[in-house]
């Protein structure tokens, strides 16, 4: 069942490649605008890099999150998912996992390349990659709560940003903090561990909250 959800969402994403690519291009363009706007001051670019890349990742994930449940709600598939003989929790985890694979993993993979234009050293690029790898699933998990709550609302896209972006603040602080620590030659383990703890907590609670929100949205 879990397998069917993931396979189905990957298939749908493949048929709507443009949606996936637009998120990725958004991320690439936003992060590239900063070096262009600020100019070639290596020291300054290096110090803003963690914040810029992480904020761009947050915004890019907002773009794709609105779509997680939307089309399934419109054509009635979501109702069918509520009626499957498996816990809704698993359905939600499956959909969030697929969303992460499709929309977030490409960002994580391309981020080190974008880090180069900020003059980051190779060990810092590795930390950037790892922090995004741990952090982006949290973005998807927490974002799915907002996506479920705003389901079927007009102007849901803006509302989801207002609801969810404040909840992203801890992830931003620890994620950018890890990269920042690495730039300053300090160990970034503490930040990464905290991100890991956030991942575990959100993996337990977010799908549960999302399930409850979906049931309310579909009543």
């Amino acid at each position: 069942m879990f397998r069917w959800i993931v396979v189905r969402d990957l298939m749908l994403a493949w048929r709507r490649r443009a949606d996936v690519l637009s998120t990725l291009f958004f991320f690439v363009i936003v992060t590239s605008l900063f070096p262009l706007g600020i100019g070639p001051e290596t020291q300054l670019l290096r110090s803003i890099a963690p914040g810029v890349v992480w904020v761009a990742a947050l915004l890019a994930s907002m773009l794709s999150l609105g779509r997680v449940f939307q089309s399934d709600e419109q054509d009635g598939t979501l109702e069918q998912m509520l009626l499957t003989p498996q816990p809704l929790y698993l359905v939600v985890v499956g959909k969030v996992f697929a969303q992460w694979l499709v929309s977030e993993v490409p960002l994580v993979l391309i981020a080190p390349l974008l880090g180069v234009q900020f003059g980051l050293a190779s060990d810092t690029l590795l930390i950037l990659f790892v922090s995004l790898l741990i952090g982006t699933p949290i973005l998807s998990l927490i974002g799915s709560i907002g996506a479920a709550l705003t389901l079927g609302l007009r102007g849901g896209g803006v509302l989801i940003a207002l609801l969810i972006l404040p909840l992203y603040i801890p992830i931003l602080i620890f994620g950018a903090g890890a990269v920042d620590a690495s730039i300053n030659g300090v160990s970034s383990h503490a930040n990464l561990y905290l991100l890991g703890a956030l991942l575990v907590v959100s993996l337990v609670f977010a799908p549960w909250a999302t399930s409850a929100a979906l049931r309310i949205s579909l009543e």
């Binding site: 069942m1 298939m11 054509d75 009635g76 598939t77």
Partner: protein, 195 residues
């Protein structure tokens, strides 16, 4: 409802046929009263109840990007009743979509899309079928097909609740009709323009 029963729900538009069916599915919580399945409240049964029912609603859950074969196999897989490639092909042939299995659903007509949703009922082991306006935009041949599917299901001891305005010709099982009354203006005030 007892095994082999068909319940047809009729009534004017807006009288609550869909709401009733959604309540029976467990999608909507009733304001009062409860739905029981084999003596137990459906909320407490949860997944066990989901295994016993199948629901086709207004929105038929056919993905435009996927072809009929993928739609059928995925929705059956999600419902925990996996179909092999051949089973799915045969089911689609029976609903008259042979040769169009590989066409994305957005190229199908409304009637054909509804037919591909109906293919879910073939090989469906659920005891209770809940079908909402399932005859809409179907031609006579497809209506006959739905009737024979329901008859087969009833003769195997299944049950069905169907909301439709059309007369159903069922050859097996027992038939009941539930006629819902039009909404009265007493409860919620009807929306209207100020005079």
């Amino acid at each position: 409802m007892t095994p082999g029963t068909l319940l047809q729900v009729t009534g004017p538009n807006g009288c609550g046929k869909t709401s009733l069916l959604r309540i029976i599915c467990g999608l909507t919580t009733p304001e009062s009263g409860e739905i029981k399945w084999q003596g137990a409240e459906i909320r407490s049964l949860d997944e066990e109840y989901s295994r016993s029912i199948t629901y086709i609603g207004h929105r038929i859950a056919v993905k435009e990007e996927l072809n009929s074969l993928e739609n059928l196999r995925i929705s059956s897989g999600l419902a925990g009743r996996e179909l092999t490639h051949d089973q799915a092909r045969q089911a689609l042939a029976r609903v008259g979509l042979a040769g169009r299995e590989n066409l994305p659903a957005r190229f199908l007509s409304e009637g054909q899309r509804r037919r591909s949703a109906l293919a879910r009922l073939i090989n469906c082991s659920a005891t209770l079928w809940i079908l909402d306006e399932v005859l809409a935009s179907l031609d006579q041949a497809a209506v006959t097909l739905v009737e024979s599917l329901i008859s087969e299901h009833l003769s195997k001891g299944g049950m069905a609740i169907v909301a439709t305005h059309q007369e159903l010709q069922i050859s097996a099982g027992s038939f009941h009709r539930l006629e819902l009354e039009p909404p009265t203006s007493g409860g919620t005030a009807p929306l209207g323009f100020p005079s």
